[in-house]
């Protein structure tokens, strides 16, 4: 304690030391005078008295030095001396200082900002208990490996497996939230009761779902995300027990999730409801599985077990489960699998950049050391010890590294926000883990580490380059920069290393640039500018009959088309360039069938869909307005499908017929089939007698003037007027965004439409985002990019499908429904 006090006092004495020293001089002067007086008193003459006193007291200068040493910390003192000297040196040589610090700042800033992304996405543990033991179970079909599961399949997998401690399901379709202003799309997910227990997440308020709370008979309950609790309920504690109407059902709020909780596969999600649908339809797929592995069970073992069970099920239920399997993927892989390689590549690039920066600055230092030889030799000759000189070099290295780190850290903070802004808002919403982005302690520690490393390099460079002999030689050579030996020793090697790294970096950057260029060149087959979209959600209760829906859609299209600024409008069940959701199987009439299924993704579109998108027609013609249910059914297929199923000689007039949905005959012969380019599959003509099997969510596409986005507001209003039931549709977004387009060229421009101010148009934009994000995340249609449908994909979608098929419909062996005697092609969710 006393020692510490003494040390602190000595440290304190470093600052403003002049006064104590002056006082001390006065003190010993007094001492001397008193001694002289005493000597005089004892009878000496003044001269002798003074001499005696001086001899007796010891040298004054030595005492002063002893006092100074006792009253200071030599280390701190020399350090501050070195610091002052270093700063003087840098100021004297601003060109060197600015270049070195700038180069280093660039390297450190880039590395730190990319590292912060790696920290948020890859290093920071996911907010679950033992996340590495969590897996997601997807359905696999010939079209791809990340599709949905059906409830009966889930039930069997759960019952038969011996590898999971728990097996739950989730789906991430949002809800229609009833508000006093009408219906609103709210983002959310439906989960089985043990979902949060499996994740190891406990609500911070209220309770989790109880076992059995997901039975169809159980009363409906909902858990809020922390963000929803904050934004929708103002963090009120009395939110528990309140009710909220989702999809027309009254739900009781029972809990609030912790703020750090996120679940990217269903993000963003405001409401988490228990899954109440225990459909017995094996061909209806809308769920993803989430399971926790038993101790000692690896993902491979679980995968093997799932495959075995899938085979059993395929034998047992060949109609629905043939060619179907399950894929077990680790949850961290599902969440950050897409982004991990990007971040690692960027981190590698940034690290190389940093290395180049360090080598550059080191060689600058080397050159500078050469020119400072004389100065150093003089200091050495004047008595500066080797250690003292080295300490000077270390100080210089640290000053360089520290100042560059400080600026680099600030630059990295800015770069982080800049990079985040480069990600389209909707894609970002699907990456909730990036919310932890920032200068976290881990990032700061990383900065400190690379800063120290570079400081070591910068200190060692001049030290190593300067041997004792050279230090002496510096004097004799008269300071003429003798760059001979040292430069030969290090400089040449440095240049080689630097060039090698630069080449690697340049090649990497070149490849990236080329990929990006190719991405830009990908033809989405449509004209994305001046296009806007609105998601419509029609309440099934009010529009249960086909004629009602047909009339409504007709009305919507007419009204919207009449809006000023809108040149054409169309409806579809899913946006162009999406994932592989909605699939059907088909057969080619007249070709032998050996039981194989041709499964393709498809869209239902209104007549003007292709005109609105401005697609390119390769052969045949578009749909006509009068092609209603009384006419033979026609379909359009894309180039990829045409190439897959038709040989060259079928081109032209002799067009085969497709048995679409394995139910009826798609009579393409009468009109010739048509092929818009790209895309995965077929486009069904308006099938107006099948509206009840269409999802309740439609996408309204508008093309118009550059300000067509504003039209979407009016269009939404128009639709509202139509559905005067106050719970019509919600959701709205812009489609044309040249900037987003250029960045994410393969996917369609990310919708970034925000609404504000208009009461009638208070749509929940975020509600929309999820679905779009899922579409975007797939990076385009499979045929375009070679990318398979991923997270958002599923064979059949669920949006509000009826629990039973409408009267008059039957299902075929795959659960596809058809009306006997009719030409239909739709996938029905339920049997």
């Amino acid at each position: 304690m006393r020692k510490l006090r003494a040390w602190l006092l000595r440290l304190w004495a470093q600052f403003g030391r002049d006064l104590p020293e002056k006082e001390f001089a006065e003190e010993i002067e007094t001492h001397l005078q008193m001694q002289i007086e005493d000597n005089l008193r004892s009878g000496m003459d003044p001269k002798q008295a003074r001499r005696e006193a001086l001899v007796k007291s010891g040298g004054m200068e030595v005492t002063m030095q002893a006092y100074r040493d006792g009253n200071s910390l030599s280390l701190v003192e020399t350090l501050s001396q070195d610091l002052r000297y270093t700063i003087r040196q840098l100021r004297k040589n601003p060109g060197f200082a600015v270049t070195a610090i700038l180069v280093l700042t660039l390297g450190i800033g880039a590395t730190v900002s990319i590292f912060s992304f790696a920290d948020a996405a890859l290093i920071k543990p996911l907010p679950y208990r033992e996340p590495s033991r969590l897996v997601v179970i997807f359905g696999t079909i010939p079209l791809g490996s990340r599709f949905h599961l059906s409830f009966p399949d889930y039930y069997d997998l759960k019952k038969l497996n011996k590898v999971f401690t728990s097996f739950e399901v989730y789906d991430s379709n949002g809800f229609m939230l009833s508000t006093p202003d009408g219906g609103q799309l709210a983002p959310g997910g439906r989960v089985s009761a043990g979902f949060f227990r499996t994740l190891g997440v406990t609500p911070i308020l209220g309770r989790d779902f109880l076992p059995g709370e997901d039975k169809p008979s159980a009363s409906r309950t909902v858990i809020l995300s922390y963000a929803a609790w904050q934004s929708r309920y103002g963090k009120r504690a009395d939110v528990l027990g309140q009710t909220v109407t989702l999809d027309g059902h009254l739900n009781t709020i029972i809990g609030v999730l912790p703020p750090e909780f996120h679940f990217a596969p269903a993000a963003p999600a405001d409401f988490w409801a228990a899954e109440h649908d225990e459909s017995s339809c094996r061909a209806c797929h809308w769920l993803f599985g989430l399971a926790r592995l038993k101790d000692g069970v690896s993902i491979q073992t679980a995968q093997a077990e799932m495959t075995t069970i899938a085979r059993q099920l395929a034998t047992q239920y060949p109609d629905s489960n043939r060619d179907q399997g399950e894929a077990v993927v680790g949850l961290p892989e599902v969440i950050v699998g897409d982004i991990r390689p990007i971040i690692l590549v960027l981190l590698g690039g940034a690290a190389l950049l940093l290395l180049i920066a360090i080598v550059n600055v080191a060689s600058l230092l080397l050159v500078r050391t050469e020119s400072r030889k004389r100065e150093i030799a003089v200091r050495g000759a004047l008595g500066a010890s080797r250690r003292r000189l080295f300490r000077q070099f270390v100080t210089e290295g640290m000053v360089l590294a520290a100042s560059a780190s400080a600026i680099g850290l600030a630059a990295a903070d800015g770069a982080m926000h800049l990079l985040t802004r480069l990600i389209p808002t909707d894609t970002l919403a699907g990456m909730p883990y990036l919310q932890g982005l920032g200068l976290t302690p881990r990032v700061l520690a990383f900065t400190l580490a690379i800063s120290l490393c570079s400081a070591v390099v910068f200190s060692l460079t001049p030290i190593v380059s300067m041997s004792r002999e050279e230090m002496r030689a510096g004097l004799t050579e008269g300071g003429r920069a003798a760059s001979g030996t040292v430069w030969h020793k290090f400089g040449a090697n440095l240049v080689v290393i630097e060039l090698a790294m630069a080449v690697v970096l340049l090649v990497g950057a070149g490849l990236l640039g080329k990929s990006f260029y190719r991405l830009l060149q990908v033809d989405p087959g449509l004209e994305p500018t001046n296009l806007a979209t609105i998601q419509l959600s029609t309440p099934r209760a009010n529009y249960s009959k086909d004629p009602q829906i047909i009339a409504l859609e007709q009305q919507i299209l007419e009204r919207v088309s009449a809006l000023p600024g809108v040149t054409s409008a169309a409806l579809t069940n899913k946006l162009p360039v999406g994932d592989g959701d909605f699939t059907t199987s088909f057969q080619i009439v007249g070709r032998p069938n050996h039981g194989e299924d041709n499964e393709v993704a498809y869209r239902l579109v209104s007549t003007d869909y292709f005109h609105t998108l401005k697609t390119r027609l390769l052969e045949g013609g578009y749909f006509n307005a009068n092609e209603d249910a009384t006419k033979p059914h026609v379909i359009l297929i894309n180039r990829a499908l045409a190439a897959a199923i038709f040989s060259r000689r079928t081109r032209g007039r002799n067009v085969p017929q497709l048995r679409w949905g394995s139910a009826g005959v798609g009579d393409a012969g009468g009109r010739r089939y048509r092929r818009p380019p790209g895309g995965p599959a077929g486009y069904a003509s308006p099938c107006r007698d099948l509206r009840s099997f269409r999802p309740t969510s439609d996408q309204l596409l508008l093309r118009g003037r550059p300000d067509v986005r504003r039209c979407t507001i009016a269009a939404a209003d128009a639709h509202r007027d139509d559905s005067s039931d106050r719970s019509g549709h919600r959701g709205l977004r812009g489609f044309d965004d040249a900037r987003a387009n250029s960045r994410f060229a393969a996917c369609l421009p990310a919708p970034r439409f925000r609404l504000a101010g208009r009461k009638l148009c208070r749509f929940s934009a975020s509600a929309e985002r999820r679905r779009i994000v899922r579409g975007d995340r797939v990076f385009g249609e499979p045929a375009n990019t070679g990318n398979r449908s991923k997270n958002g994909a599923g064979r059949t979608a669920r949006h509000g499908l009826p629990a039973r098929p409408a009267a008059g419909f039957r299902t075929d062996r795959r659960g596809n429904c058809y009306r006997p005697g009719r030409i239909v092609r739709c996938v029905c969710a339920d049997a």
Partner: protein, 113 residues
């Protein structure tokens, strides 16, 4: 270290002891007093005295303030702090103990034989 020099390690105790018996004193006074007590066998130079005073003050055992000496000179007067008073006792005891042990080596008693 010459015969007449004060050993560094013992200087602190001598200063503390002196201040304990004499009360506040300036540096010259302390030096004189120590020489006196030693029967002029010790010579206190300021190279030894003042660093010791400085360290004692840094460690908080003594404090100092400027005052006026008997013959009207401005001088810095040192006095014991409370911690210093405690330290005198502790240091004296330690010194006595060490002395006793050393004495057994220098002039061995009966039990050592």
């Amino acid at each position: 270290v010459g015969e007449n020099d004060v050993w560094q390690g013992t200087m602190a105790l001598m200063v503390l002891k002196t201040l304990e018996s004499m009360g506040p004193l300036h540096g010259y006074g302390i030096a004189r007093r120590i020489e006196q007590i030693s029967g002029d066998r010790l010579v206190v130079q300021y190279g030894t005295l003042y660093p010791a005073l400085l360290r004692l003050e840094q460690e908080g055992y003594i404090s100092s303030e400027w005052g006026v000496s008997d013959n009207n000179r401005r001088a810095r007067f040192y006095k014991l702090t409370r911690a210093g008073r405690r330290q005198v006792g502790k240091e004296s005891q330690r010194w006595e103990k060490a002395n006793a042990i050393l004495a057994r080596f220098v002039s061995p008693g009966e039990e050592a034989l």
